[in-house]
Amino acid sequence: MNRSKYLPLTETTFYILVALLEPGHGYYIMQKVEELSGGDVRVAAGTMYGAIENLLGLKWIKAVPGEDKRRKVYQITETGKEVLKEESKRLKKLVDVAGKHSL
């Protein structure tokens, strides 16, 4: 499967996937992303909800059974992890190239 057509990920998508390495519901993800990015990335609700729907559709995340039936809990899937790894590799390469040019 050629996943490269989805790369590069947006910053928001990247952080959401990282946040969902641990299961959490929508509002938790919003807080987690802000925390992970040191306050740089604040995902607004409409963007957040859309991202969840998109990532569910791509099967990069999945809904896992939670305590409260009305509050869905999400978690990253294996496919999602692969994409994250691929994207991290791409980003690392960029940083390496920049480093070689003493940036």
């Binding site: 057509k5 989805y6 790369l7 590069p8 990920l9 947006t10 928001t12 998508t13 519901h25 929508g26 509002y27 919003m30 807080q31 990335v41 604040r42 995902v43 607004a44 609700a45 409409g46 963007t47 957040m48 909800y49 859309g50 991202a51 729907e53 998109n54 990532l55 569910l56 559709g57 791509l58 990069w60 009305r70 509050r71 869905k72």
Partner: protein, 227 residues
């Protein structure tokens, strides 16, 4: 205070709502079908919330979570329906986030959902127009003047609606492209999972079947009564 105003553009609608908010009018309710907005004037110096529009079909079972996401960042629902995609939000307090979208691509995706939906509706309207063309030829053959006039008028209306939705839908899609070019922003590649159009079309087909069935029922009752 009630205001009647029709928009074909989310950005313009939000800009107008911002204008109203700056003048101190808080949005209390919306009827998107009749284009009626109800505002209340807030006291001088009191917080007047901004309003924003999402366009997304949210199934009933996901509504709680959807609302919670927004509530968490300071937005509450003003209008929402299970049969429509329009979702009107307003800020709860000054602590609310500035907008309900934090990147350009989710705004673009919202407009694209509406654009795609309009193109699909246009196809559905065209199909109905063609279907009723069969009824029209039948009425002409039977020299039934009432139904001839009825189906001709109905057909013209349907064709008109189909053309309008086609043009408007196309405009929504192309306008977004321009928006993306203008900001030279990275396009989000992950929009494949969007279900709004599919859900909305499902809803329309159900309503279509119900109205056709109702039409047949009324028709057969009328023909029974008139003998």
């Amino acid at each position: 205070m009630k205001r009647f105003k029709a928009f074909f553009d989310f950005e313009k609608e939000e800009a107008w709502l911002d204008e109203m908010s700056e003048k101190g009018y808080r949005l209390d309710s919306v009827n998107p079908w009749l284009c009626i907005y109800t505002f209340t004037k807030v006291e001088e110096g009191e917080f007047c919330p901004k309003s924003r529009i999402d366009f997304r079909m949210v199934p009933g079972k996901d509504k709680v979570e959807y609302k919670e996401c927004f509530r968490g960042s300071g937005w509450e629902l003003v209008y929402s329906s299970n049969n429509a995609a329009q979702q009107y939000f307003r800020q709860i307090s000054p602590a609310a986030s500035d907008d309900i979208f934090s990147d350009k691509s989710s705004v673009v995706q919202r407009n694209k959902r509406l654009g795609r939906l309009m193109l699909v509706s246009s196809i559905i309207f065209s199909i109905i127009a063609m279907m009723q063309f069969v009824c029209l030829t039948d009425a002409i053959r039977n020299t039934d003047s009432f139904w001839t006039v009825f189906f001709t008028a109905f057909g013209i209306c349907l064709a008109g609606v189909a053309v309008v939705t086609l043009v408007a839908g196309n405009r929504f899609l192309s306008k977004d492209m321009k928006g993306l070019d203008a900001v030279v922003e990275q396009e989000d590649n992950t929009s494949a999972g969007d279900k709004t159009v599919r859900r909305m079309v499902g809803r329309m087909v159900v309503w279509l079947i119900i109205s056709v069935a109702a039409g047949f029922a009324v028709g057969s009752i009328v023909s029974l009564v008139t003998g």
